[in-house]
Structure formats: C-alpha cells, structure tokens
C-alpha cells in the first residue's frame, strides 16, 4: 500500500473547513438542524480512538475488494462533499489517508455479505453499468463506519442493513449515488444502541433513477436511535418511495428525519415518504421530522408521519378471538413492523425485532 502523508489529498482550505467543523460542530445552521436531537459530541466521540481494521466482504469476486488504497480524485470529491456537512464524517476523513474499495464489474452469482466495515476509512463500492448485486450488511460492533455506493447506469442494487442492539455509541454513514436508470432497494432493520446515529443519503443523479427504501426498528431499554434519511432528486423523472415504521418501548428514544429534496428543473419527479411510530411505554420518546424542499413544479410529492399507540379496536378484535392482552400487543406490534420487512434478510430482521411481550 502506498504511504501517503496525512491529508496530502485534502487541499488546505478543505482541511481547514473540516477541522473547523470538528472543533465547532454546530457553528453552521445546517449542521445544527441535522444534529438537533442528537448529541453531536457523542457522535464525534464514536469516531475517536478506534482501532484500524479493514472492511471484509464475504462472497466478493476475487480481486474485487482492495483495502487501504489511495482514493481517486472523483472518490475524494464525493467524500469531501459529504464530510463538509457532517462533523463525524469530517473527523473520520481528517484521520483517514486511504479508503477500502469494492469494484463490482460483473453481477455476482450470489449475495455479498458485508462482514466488517473499517471504522477509520470509508468503503467505496462501485457497481458497473447494468450490474445487478445484492448486499447484506450485518456488520456487528463497529462504532464508526462510512459506506458509499455508486450505482452506474442501469445498475441494480438490493441492499439490506441489519443492526442488533448494542450498548456502545456508534455513528455511521451510508450513501448511495444513482446514475441514469439505476435502481436501488434499501432496507434498514435495527434495534437501538447507547447512541446509534445513521446519516443516510440517497442521491438520484441520473434520469429515471429510482429508490425504494424501507425501515423498521424497535428501540427499548434506555437505547437511542437517531436516523437521517436524505433523498435528493437531482434529475428529471426520478422516483423515490419510503416507508419507515418504528416502535419505541421502555425508555427508548428515537429520532427520525426524512428529508426529500427536489432540485430545480426536475419535471416528472415522484417522491413519497411515510414514517409511522408506536410509543408503547410511558418513558418512550419519539421525534420525527419529515421534510419537503421542492424547487420544481411538475412533481408529485407527499409525506406523512404519525405517532400513536396500538389501536384499541384491533386489541379488542384479538381479545374477542381469545387472545390475552400481552399476546395481542406482541402480535400487533410485530405486524406493524412486518409491513416494512421483506427481502433476503426478512427472517433475520423479523427475529431481531421480535420480543416476548409488548407490555404497557
């Protein structure tokens, strides 16, 4: 691996900008807004003092994964852009000299499994034109991580991310860039953590690119889950559809921000987002913030968010069929999450999100 001096690939201004972001993380209104409900210092600390390990991808074709390599100029531009908007990403990039890279030039015969994500370097995945891939990301125990996936023209990715409960704080970054006609299915199933923060960005850069995103989570005990899902429509005819269902129990704490942005001169865009949440216990807290920023007129766009409880009439219906209340609640809660669970990781996800009882 080539030895590159620290920050040699960051120009002086960018390095200074990133450093400023790390030192005074909420000096910008934009950053304050995205960390409104998350302690930004805990996010920054999750990136600090982690041992350097490599990303590991099981099932990757021979030679497709290279770790600890120098980024190309275009990769750097992408990483830099993102880092300027997110303090922990800025911190990670300041410390990183290299990246891990996975090139998928042909469609893999079977699903790839992301076993480990380097906590100190971004992993950049390139999916070549028309290549179809399935990636299961069930990395366990990374406090930091940055996954960037670029889908070239008409590439097709089925991506599932699963995260079990963990006591630590973690911050992770997930980004998908889609070229013309590329298609993404992204699923995200998780439990909470000490602090679990996910910054997800989907950029629909090419005409007619489309993304279908679903999420389901259960956060209980004193755990916390903070998610940002930004979907940016940057080309005409792009489509996105999102459905996220969350359950907050015990003293769980969740934050969901779902931002849809439609750039000027993007006719024919369709974008929808639904976020539904159930609060099951008195100590549970849920913040949700669906946002629309629309700068084109020939678009169809909607979002909805709800916070509520299991429906009394549903509980009664199950009771009238002989189920006791605890069983009925468990069943209904599982059903609520199952609306968002499908795909190759569905069984794992359902098991992960199941609990014995959903008490009041």
């Amino acid at each position: 691996m080539s030895a590159i001096a620290a920050h040699a690939w960051l120009d002086v201004e960018t390095a200074a900008e990133l450093r400023a972001l790390v030192e005074a993380p909420t000096a910008q209104a934009r950053v304050r807004e995205s960390w409104k409900y998350t302690p930004v210092l805990r996010g920054l600390n999750a990136v600090a003092n982690v041992a350097a390990t490599d990303s590991v991808v099981a099932g990757a074709p021979d030679g497709s994964l290279r770790v600890d390599v120098a980024p190309t100029a275009s990769e750097m531009a992408l990483l830099r852009e993102r880092a300027c908007a997110c303090p922990p990403a800025a911190k990670l990039l300041l410390g990183a000299r290299t990246i891990d890279r996975l090139n998928l030039d042909t469609s893999p015969a079977s699903p790839l499994q992301l076993r480990a994500l380097s906590p100190v370097r971004p992993l950049v995945v390139h999916i070549a034109p028309t290549v179809r891939a399935t990636i299961l990301d069930d990395v366990d125990g990374a406090s930091a991580g940055w996954l960037l996936v670029c889908l070239d023209t008409a590439a097709d990715l089925d991506f599932t991310r699963v995260r079990p409960s963990c006591p630590r704080d973690e911050w992770q970054q997930l980004q998908f860039d889609l070229a013309d006609d590329a298609q993404l299915i992204a699923r995200h199933y998780c439990r909470g953590a000490g602090l679990r923060r996910l910054d997800a960005l989907v950029r629909l850069l090419g005409r007619n690119a489309s993304a279908t995103i679903s999420g389901a989570w259960r956060v209980d005990a004193g755990d916390r889950l903070d998610q940002q899902w930004h979907v940016e429509h940057l080309a005409p005819g792009t489509r996105s559809e999102q459905r996220h269902h969350g359950i907050v129990a015990d003293r769980g704490h969740t934050t969901f921000r779902g931002r849809i942005y439609i750039a000027p001169d993007c006719p024919g865009v369709e974008a929808d987002l639904v976020n539904r949440n159930l609060l099951l216990d008195p100590g549970a807290v849920c913040n949700t913030k669906p946002e629309l920023e629309i700068l084109s007129d020939d678009v169809r766009c909607s979002h909805g968010a709800t916070v509520g409880q299991l429906a009394a009439e549903s509980l009664f219906y199950l009771a009238s069929r002989g189920l006791d209340e605890a069983t009925a609640r468990t069943l209904l809660a599982a059903g609520f999450l199952n609306e968002c669970i499908d795909g190759p990781g569905a069984e794992t996800a359902a098991a992960l999100l199941r609990t014995e009882t959903d008490h009041d």
């Binding site: 609060l279 849920c286 913040n287 629309i294 909607s302 709800t306 916070v307 409880q309």
Partner: protein
C-alpha cells in the same frame, strides 16, 4: 393557458400601495439604553415598565439574529432605524373632519373604512362613533393609537379595549401581571427587541363569563419612512369569556426595506376562548424583490385554564420576508389550540411561517391546517412544531399541510417537527404538494372561464378550509386579497 403563461402574467402593481404624508415626530435613528429610556419617558411609563424594557434591551444585545429559517436577506442595520414616531398635535385634536389632514382621510378611504367611523378614528373632538357596524376599530397609526371607537358600548359589557399605552396607566395590575407572561422578554431576538422598544398596540380584557359583544379589530399600518414598527398586543380572556379579534394590515409603497417586529400575547383562562384572525397585505417589494416589509412577528397564546381554546387564523399575502409562528401553549387540561393558515408568495417574496403547539396539559388537542401557495420566484416554507410533553397524557394533534405551486421557479417547503414524549399521545401529520394542472385550466377554459379567473377559483378552493374559519367580513376580504395578489397572473 399553460402553467408557463401563468408565470408570465404573474406581475401586478401593489394596489394597497400608498403613503400618507402626515406630520410625524420622530426620533433620530439608533438604539441605545438611552433611547429605550426616552421611549418610556415619552409615554410617561411607570418605573417598573422602564426597567422591564431595559432588561429586554440588555438581553437583546447579547442575542444573535436567528439564522435557521429558510430565508435569505441582507443583514438588518438596527442602528439605522428610528424607534419612535408619533403623529403630532394630538393634545388639541381637530374640531371637525374639515380640520383633519386630508391625506389621512384619503388613507382611510383607500382602506375602505366606513365614512361614519372616520371622524372618530381621526380623533375629531366629540365625534360619535357609528352604530351600524358591529366591529370596533382601534387604528394603530404608526406608533400611537389615535383613537378608540365603541368604547362605551364595550364598557357596558365590562370589556376593556384600549391602546396598551393607556392600559399601562388605567389597568396597571393586569398589564403588569400578564405582559411578557406568554412571550418573555428574552424569548427570541425579535421579541426581545420588541420588548425593549415596543411602541403601542391593543390591550383587551374580557371579564369572566362575558361574550364580547362585537368583533374587535385593529388596522395596523406602517407610515413614517424608516420607522420600524413594534406593536405589542395583549389580550386576556378571563374565565368563560369569549372574544374574536381581527387584525388587518396594508402598507404604503416605499423603496427601503422596513422592519416590523410585533409581539402578540393571548391569555385564555378556564373555559375562555380567543379567536385571533389576521389578513396581512403589507408591501411585498417590487417584482425584483426591492423594498417590501420585513415581518418578524412573535405571536403566542397560552391556554392557562382547563378547557380554554385559542384559535389563530391567518391569511398572509404581503411582506418581502415573513417570519411568523403563531403558537399555542396548551397548559390547561382539555384545552384546544388551532392554527389555520394561508400563505401566498409571489415574485421574490419569502415566507417561513407555521405554528407551534406545545401540549402540556392532559387531553389537550390541536389542529393545524396550512395552505401554502408559491408563485413567481418566491420561496414559501411551512415550519411547525408539535410537542407533546411527558405530562400531556391523551394529547392529540392533526396536521394537514398542503402546497400549491404556480410556476417552475418557485419553491415550496415543509419542515414539521414532531416531538412526542407521552405514550398515549396521537400525532398525525400529512403533507402534499401539487400544482394547478393544465387539465383543470382547460376544463375551466372550455366552460368559458379565462385562466386568470380559473386560477383564482382554484386557489380559493384550495384555501377553503382556512377561509371557513375567518369571520364573515374577513373571509370576503381574504378572497379578494388572493384575487388581487394573483391579478394578471394568467390570461
């Protein structure tokens, strides 16, 4: 009649644009503690109020200007603004309408104020307010309320409706108790500024179990050049009382940007109900965004008692910049907060407006209906907070937030914040974005309705849910206002 032509025709002259040349007594620009003291002295205020203002001024000096809204404008030079202006020769008022400044009378004419009310409004000595209208008008003409009508009628019911500056002297116990109780001096940058330099505004008190016998109304206008307006209104509805308050605004055409930072505080005690309606049509600037009012308003009500109800209805078509979030703090159990809003932006206008519903009491309910219409190169944002605190068991909110786009160069944005910390709360938020479709325009054209009228009808239909909440007189005015705002929009 495509959407393109809508855009082409989206330009019009500001029909309420006029400036009356009334003699004014104005402070030189600049703001210091001495200016705050001087304002207080000019109004013969008691010491506690001078201190209150100075405390606010000290807080304001330490505060940064808010930067979180979706608004872009050059920084305001607060030292270039004059903080006091009063019409002259109030003490020896005119004897008849003939002695009244004809400019002022013309102003009333343009505002559509009925003839029989004009004399009283102009402060003619001994003028009898008209009896045919059921609206009481308190005209805030620049900084000092010139006169108040219908006082006797209201006094019979025990209702107090007078300039705040007068209430400070006549009802000091009420003012001292409630002033700043809803919007504290250091609440935010603009509220702190207002608290330091507020000029005047309305004071309303409705005694227990009293239904205010008429709609109360204030016409705010901004008149003297370079004079920031800092109205402060305080409305208190005692137990079981009801009041409907209307606020309407028009403003003179001018070139420089004008700052307006008002504060409105509403207090509803047990079983009381306050309905506050606004139609705002301040000068929005020209087609290129030059001139126009900066409107940074803090409006908030507290449902202090059980089963209290506060309802905000606003129709916002004017101002270059609107920064406004009429809010309700739902403290009393079973209290109700409502927000109905139409915000129309055209040309280079920018609006960041919405509401905050803070649920503290049990079984509190809130409803939010927001309709945003964006045209030209304008930016229109809804920003709303629904917060359910741990104490607010059984709280409910429903929010419906719709945007209508007229043209491809404008923006429509929605930023709702939902914070739920009680597991028995139910919060629902829905938002949609649509445009006037070519098919709708064609159907109207096929029935002989030209595109301008068609757009106006469609926009009015889009806003119906909100207009329904306005008192009759205002609903008509609001419909007209939208029509005027879209005049020449299409053809």
């Amino acid at each position: 009649m495509t959407n393109e032509t809508i855009e082409q025709r989206l330009n019009r002259a500001y029909s309420a644009g006029f400036e009356s040349a009334v003699d004014a007594d104005t402070f030189p620009p600049g703001l210091t503690a001495d200016v705050v003291r001087a304002i207080s002295a000019r109004k013969n205020e008691p010491g506690w109020l001078t201190d209150w203002r100075l405390k606010a001024f000290a807080a304001w000096q330490a505060m940064p200007t808010p930067d979180w809204a979706h608004l872009h404008f050059p920084p305001v030079d607060f030292q270039a603004i004059s903080y006091f202006s009063a019409p002259r020769s109030q003490a020896d008022g005119p004897r008849s309408l003939d002695e009244v400044d004809p400019e002022l009378l013309r102003t009333y004419e343009k505002l559509g104020i009925p003839l029989h009310e004009r004399a009283a409004l102009a402060g003619v000595v001994g003028a009898e307010p008209g009896t045919s209208s059921n609206i009481a008008v308190d005209a805030v003409f620049d900084s000092v309320s010139i006169t108040t009508t219908f006082k006797d009628k209201l006094a019979e019911a025990g209702v107090i409706f007078c300039p705040l500056s007068e209430a400070v002297h006549t009802h000091p116990e009420l003012v001292q108790k409630y002033l700043g109780s809803v919007v504290p001096q250091r609440d935010n940058f603009y509220a702190a500024l207002n608290s330091a330099v507020f000029s005047d505004g309305s004071f309303v008190y409705i005694p227990p179990d009293t239904r205010c016998p008429m709609e109360l109304s204030t016409y705010f206008r901004i008149n003297a050049r370079n004079t920031g307006q800092f109205e402060r209104t305080l409305i208190i509805a005692d137990r079981g009382a009801y009041v409907s308050y209307l606020e309407g605004c028009t403003a003179p055409m001018r070139d420089e940007n004008q700052l307006h930072a008002a504060v409105v505080e509403l207090v509803a005690l047990e079983d009381a109900s306050i309905k506050y309606s606004t139609v705002q049509n301040w000068y929005p600037g020209d087609a290129e965004g030059r001139g126009g009012i900066y409107n940074f308003v803090t409006k908030r009500g507290t449902c202090l008692g059980k089963r209290a109800r506060i309802s905000w209805t606003q129709v916002e078509t004017g101002s270059a910049i609107t920064w406004k979030y009429p809010s309700v703090v739902l403290r009393g159990d079973d209290s109700v907060g409502e927000f109905y809003s139409v915000a129309l932006t055209n040309n280079r206008q920018q609006a960041d407006t919405g509401t905050k519903m803070i649920h503290l009491g049990r079984n509190t309910r809130s409803t939010i209906v927001s309709k945003g219409i964006s045209a030209g190169r304008s930016q229109n944002s809804y920003r709303g907070l629904v917060r359910v605190s741990p104490t607010a068991a059984g709280a409910r909110n429903h929010t419906q937030c719709d945007s209508l786009l007229l043209g491809s160069q404008c923006g429509a944005h929605t930023f709702p914040y939902i914070e739920a910390a009680n597991s028995s709360a139910t919060v629902e938020h829905e938002a949609t974005t649509t445009r006037v479709s070519d098919d709708q325009l064609f159907l109207c054209a096929q029935r002989g309705i030209d595109a301008e009228k068609a757009v106006s009808m469609i926009v009015n239909g889009f806003c119906r849910e909100v207009f329904r909440e306005l008192p009759m007189e205002f609903a008509v005015e609001a419909g007209k206002l939208l029509e005027v705002s879209l005049e020449g929009a299409v053809g």
